[in-house]
Symmetry: C2
Subunit: 190 residues, 2 copies
């Protein structure tokens, strides 16, 4: 019989992050995580396939938000307008009360090459997903891929700024600024 633990998933996620940050990712086991919040290893594995997955939980939801954002964008018809709309939609995934979590997560990722590779693969898949959604809205190649990759670039640069010490602006606001910078930067040569 499976016993339901209210909030177990959230508690496991928070505990894992803290242990990864304190002891290091490699030095923390699934059992350590479960025990630190009074749960069993078995409960851990009902929620996560392995300890790495704790850090990538929610990835599908974020990608879906972004892709749905492209599909439902109404702000403009150009490829970059569609991506700009989707960036704003997807930023709902990172409200301000998630900033501390995201900041801590980042310190864990950058210290572990295996996690970095996983993170890069996640961003590459996000880019592919956006390009597919753009093609479905009639944007041809290579514009679809260029706009998708530019969107992921803007998200990445904005995200790193969002988690910087003392940054207080929302992710959506930073993304608008960074997209503006990219537009100015790549403006056709005079």
């Amino acid at each position: 019989m499976v016993r339901w633990e209210p909030g177990a998933r959230d508690r496991l996620r928070a505990a894992a992050l803290q242990l990864f940050a304190d002891r290091g990712f490699e030095q923390t086991t699934a059992s350590d995580i479960a025990e630190s919040v009074g749960l069993t290893e078995r409960t851990f594995f009902r929620h996560f396939a392995d300890k790495r997955e704790v850090l990538f939980d929610g990835q599908d939801l974020f990608q879906e938000l972004f892709v749905t954002g492209v599909a439902s964008a109404t702000g403009g018809a150009s490829a970059v307008d569609l991506v700009a709309d989707a960036l704003q939609t997807a930023s709902a995934f990172f409200p301000d009360d998630r900033r501390a979590y995201s900041r801590l997560r980042q310190t864990i990722i950058v210290e572990n090459p295996g996690l970095q590779e996983r993170e890069l693969l996640k961003m590459a898949r996000l880019s592919e997903g956006i390009a597919v959604a753009l093609r479905e809205r009639g944007i041809p190649e290579p514009q679809a891929t260029l706009a998708a990759e530019s969107g992921v670039t803007v998200f990445g640069v904005a995200f790193r700024q969002w988690i910087a010490a003392d940054e207080r602006r929302s992710l959506a606001e930073i993304e608008r600024d960074i997209l503006g910078e990219l537009r100015t930067l790549t403006a056709p040569a005079r």
Copy 2:
């Protein structure tokens, strides 16, 4: 005593690629590669740390070409002009007689998630290296990172086109077109 095998490295590289394509990357051993060109496994390991490295040989040289391209660019002073110059410099790494090799290599990479992750890490490092070179030329952030990532995007899209069936244009020529597309796409909103 180490016996010098003239051309051993090139023969091992060509043989590895063919075996990976024919049998699959996982199913090919370093010993298989060496034996197929009449060399010993020991000779293989004098040239490559492992079979994966055969596919990433030359990566440092390519990155160096690109970064040197930024450092020595004279075509213009904007971040994107510097990157455009560097793209042209680095395209010397992919002359037309390398196209068949690159095409075959790509089919091996896309079939293996571990190789894909390694390839993504390579591109992420390339982007970081270009951003460093741009900052050294006085380009501030976030422009340096945006221009570096845009350069890698253009390279990636152009490269996939360069190895497409029936494509005959040089990589440098395709890169100029793709950069032009990106400039048009991200042109400031009217």
